[in-house]
Symmetry: C2
Subunit: 286 residues, 2 copies
């Protein structure tokens, strides 16, 4: 059996009891560690589970999935995923491959950022499609998020923006020379995300959002040190100190917001008066 | 401290290790049991936790929240919610009330149907806003879901439809006579939902969806007996026998679907050939 086990969002104790039982009895345990990360190190997980873990990088999961699935017809293999197993496309692929090999699959769900973001007080049923924001390069600034946000905002919905993480990346030079030397991990912050969003608006000028659009920055959702900051996109460009360490996410508000959402998020506002003024002017319209 | 603890989707072992620790040490333990249910009885939970539980019905949570919050400045109170604590508005209200009383709040997230529905193989970032479907009465057929689905479909997105549950409801006669006699619980099925959707389309005739629109019915998501059925809305009207007992949910597909989603869901199709034919004709358009 292939078990896809969600680990939740924060630390080693966010695994479900059911998931922990699976990990303890599986023949092999893999940890997918490139679409998201927990806030604790691998060694903490290994001590807690009493098991050693093979870290599965993108190359392994996408090109060598048959090694992960080896003997899973007769043995139990646990594939651990931060958040919920079906948050990222790549795991759907793994299940399809298992089906081809007639390997039974069972999923142990867990909290995902897609539902955990409800802790901002913004209602999950008011969210439109989720978008991703990648680190811009000088000559590569993918902006498909802009059209998606435009669609969400045209019908008054919030947008969850998931922020890029770079783990086990090689510099161009090291890649060219075939040196398996990896850069230190990088995690996009809410400030960088807000900045990139404003750059694209500046470029496209379709008025999808602007400096005074309201948004909520979230850090370490579901963890003991979780932190939320509400403000305009302009304010959030400089709110990384308040938010602290990774992982960060951002929600851009839609105008069809409920006053319960206003009351809940105002608590997180950098400037409560400004938050209320802009809210009353631009939001809460059905 | 008020702890909002998510229980996940299925049985007593879906609680997280962190959540279980909270339940074991709290002074009082409440279970919110009217927005969703687990697939196991209260007694199973009580035996597993080694704690007795107070079932909190809607009246208690909405009108008597101060009793739930009593002494929570100094004691730990655990408020258990099926799925994730922030899935339903009513819990946001409870947190706001706790804030007014200066009671600290901590949340233990868990799987929600809003993320667990990814187990259908439909990608979470292709979903628009979530809608709810209530049991129609002869003279009361609320159809606001129709306009929401229209918005989602206009931009090519899937719609998750959450289905009504009725627990601890009184008949009109018993209510009028002040008799605290409650009807047996009722859970809407995918068949009833598909039927009501088609009735409203028949009435409004805006062509938002029709008999041959593709959808996936889901039952007991995340549980050992979870079941998925893919078909046209017409087919799903009669698929309850395949899906089995509650809880059910339904996803209406948007046209902007990825071929990975087609490959994954075809496995669940009542008629694979028909599924592929309609998909290739109407879906997968960017």
């Amino acid at each position: 059996m292939l078990y896809l086990v969600g680990l939740g969002l924060s630390d080693e104790t966010d695994i479900t009891v059911k998931g922990l039982e699976v990990v303890k009895k599986a023949s092999r345990v893999y940890l997918e560690a490139y679409t998201s990360i927990l806030l604790v190190d691998q060694s903490v997980l290994e001590n807690y589970y009493g098991r050693s873990i093979v870290v599965a990088d993108r190359e392994m999961v996408e090109s060598d999935s048959d090694e992960i699935l080896r003997n899973a017809e007769t043995e139990d293999v646990a594939f651990l995923v931060v958040g919920d197993p079906f948050g990222a496309t790549t795991h759907t692929d793994l299940v399809l491959r298992a089906r081809e090999l007639s390997i039974p699959v069972q999923t142990v769900p867990n909290a995902s950022i897609m539902s955990g973001i409800g802790a901002t007080g913004l209602q999950l049923y008011n969210f439109g499609q989720t978008v991703s924001m990648v680190f811009f390069l000088d000559n590569w600034r993918p902006a498909s998020f802009y059209d998606r946000i435009k669609e969400n905002r045209s019908i008054g919905l919030h947008t969850l923006v998931l922020l890029d993480i770079k783990v086990k990346e090689q510099s161009l030079e090291n890649m060219a020379r075939g040196r398996k030397i990896y850069e230190p991990p990088r995690y996009m912050t809410v400030g960088q995300c807000a900045q990139q969003m404003l750059e694209i608006e500046e470029e496209k000028k379709e008025g999808v959002y602007g400096l005074d659009s309201l948004a909520v920055g979230a850090a370490r959702v579901g963890g003991k040190t979780e932190k939320y900051v509400a403000g305009t996109l302009k304010q959030l460009c400089n709110a990384d100190d308040i938010l602290g360490p990774p992982l960060h996410s951002l929600v851009l508000l839609g105008r069809r917001a409920h006053e319960l959402e206003r009351d809940f998020t105002r608590e997180f506002a950098i400037d409560k008066e400004l938050w209320t003024t802009i809210w009353d002017r631009d939001y809460g319209k059905q």
